[in-house]
Symmetry: C2
């Protein structure tokens, strides 16, 4: 297949490199357009107030284009007028850290996939539930086999498949489960510290409380050792509430 | 009401100041926690890789807290352990530039409202279809009156009301219309330029082609002179596709 690769951990990240190596060895035609620097948790950020630069990255057999922007910028650069690519599939990842539940809002990995899906490119986001994984080749091999099980061209438009690997060696995973996102949100707190010059600063911390997790949703199944797969869609309009409000708020017009 | 104000144009932006002045004069209890610098199009970005700093901003009658991060950071700072606020309503805006259709993905204005909604705070995002509006007091006065027409506490959880003003003086607007987002996407292109040192750089440009716009959606109605209101929800899971794929992909487990 003709595949566009990107991520949010940056063009030097091991997850992207593992995907590249495994998919290249399998004979796929690959183009990499990825951020030059780590862009985790940038969400669907797009660079409007500053220009973008592109740097060609040749690193042994690896070739790609590094962009001085966000994952969404990379997809726009790749599919837009700069490179005009028309891949059959975009794969974003493999991300260090799961993207489940509300993570989807914050995730640059998923945002890149969304951006492709919006303009009609089938898209897969891949993440692993570990912030510093040692070797993602087994996950990349799983992805290599998985992409042949989906008829990408027949998926409904504007959909992303969001895959997450548990924090387990792939052979020990319990298999693939289709599941919805958890609705549980993070309990956030800030760690307040003082810098060497006596000024206060704040680090974000947060966790999802286990008692808030529903069974058979992505976070729960991932923790149980399943590989999870969630199809995502992006119509934010709440049509039911729209009609209710239309009767009340705008009833007088 | 006890209202939290934020935005993505930054704590010095006229749209935020207009809201502050009008709502303050109307007797509301206001807290401002807003980005120190412009954060347009940052989407749901959250700052994880660097610490945040907070600066108190006193500017005549205006008081607020400026945060060295994104709109979502500001909401987390305000509602989380730093200030522990429990406002009855969050208002994000008034943003320079409309947030309709897929703008909702990129918009820091909407992301701030979403972040509040996720933790149970009713939220209103307000934008105006002009990138450099002169005086947003009339829009702020409209918002002041509008917020009394909604029973915020009785809205379903995790909803944002997304309001957009057309590029018209408020008295000339055709009234308020409840409507869905347009599904039309931008046709992007990059303006390729060369800097004074001979290096190439790229500016993102884009437009939604009028022929792609559906009638009675936000972009269309806004251009026709209506004030638009769209209730947004954030369940991304495509349950129908999930069940279809479950039968095919994971059928063999």
């Amino acid at each position: 297949m003709n595949i566009l690769l990107t991520n949010d951990d940056g063009i030097w990240a091991p997850g992207l490199r593992a995907l590249y190596q495994i998919l290249f060895s399998a004979g796929h035609q690959l183009t990499v357009v990825a951020p030059l620097t780590e862009q985790s948790a940038v969400g669907h950020a797009v660079t409007l107030s500053s220009p973008l630069r592109i740097k060609k990255v040749n690193d042994g057999p690896f070739q790609g284009f590094g962009v001085s922007g966000s994952p969404v910028d990379c997809v726009k650069i790749a599919l837009g007028t700069v490179y005009n690519l028309q891949p059959q599939l975009l794969i974003s990842g493999i991300n260090n850290g799961a993207n489940v539940g509300v993570d989807i809002l914050y995730s640059g990995t998923v945002a890149a996939a969304t951006e492709a899906a919006l303009v009609g490119i089938p898209a897969l986001a891949v993440s692993v539930d570990h912030f510093n994984p040692e070797d993602l080749s087994p996950q990349a091999e799983y992805v290599r086999d998985f992409i042949h099980t989906i008829d990408w061209a027949s998926l409904p438009p504007r959909r992303v498949l969001n895959m997450n690997f548990p924090d387990l060696p792939v052979p020990e995973c319990k298999g693939l489960r289709l599941c919805p996102q958890t609705q549980a949100v993070y309990e956030d707190w800030y760690d307040e510290r003082t810098d060497p010059r006596g000024r206060r600063y704040y680090w974000l911390c947060g966790e999802i409380l286990p008692q808030n997790l529903e069974p058979d949703t992505d976070r729960t199944l991932l923790t149980q050792g399943f590989i999870t797969l969630t199809p995502l869609t992006f119509d934010f309009t709440d049509h039911k509430l729209m009609h209710q409000l239309d009767a009340s708020v705008a009833g007088g017009r």
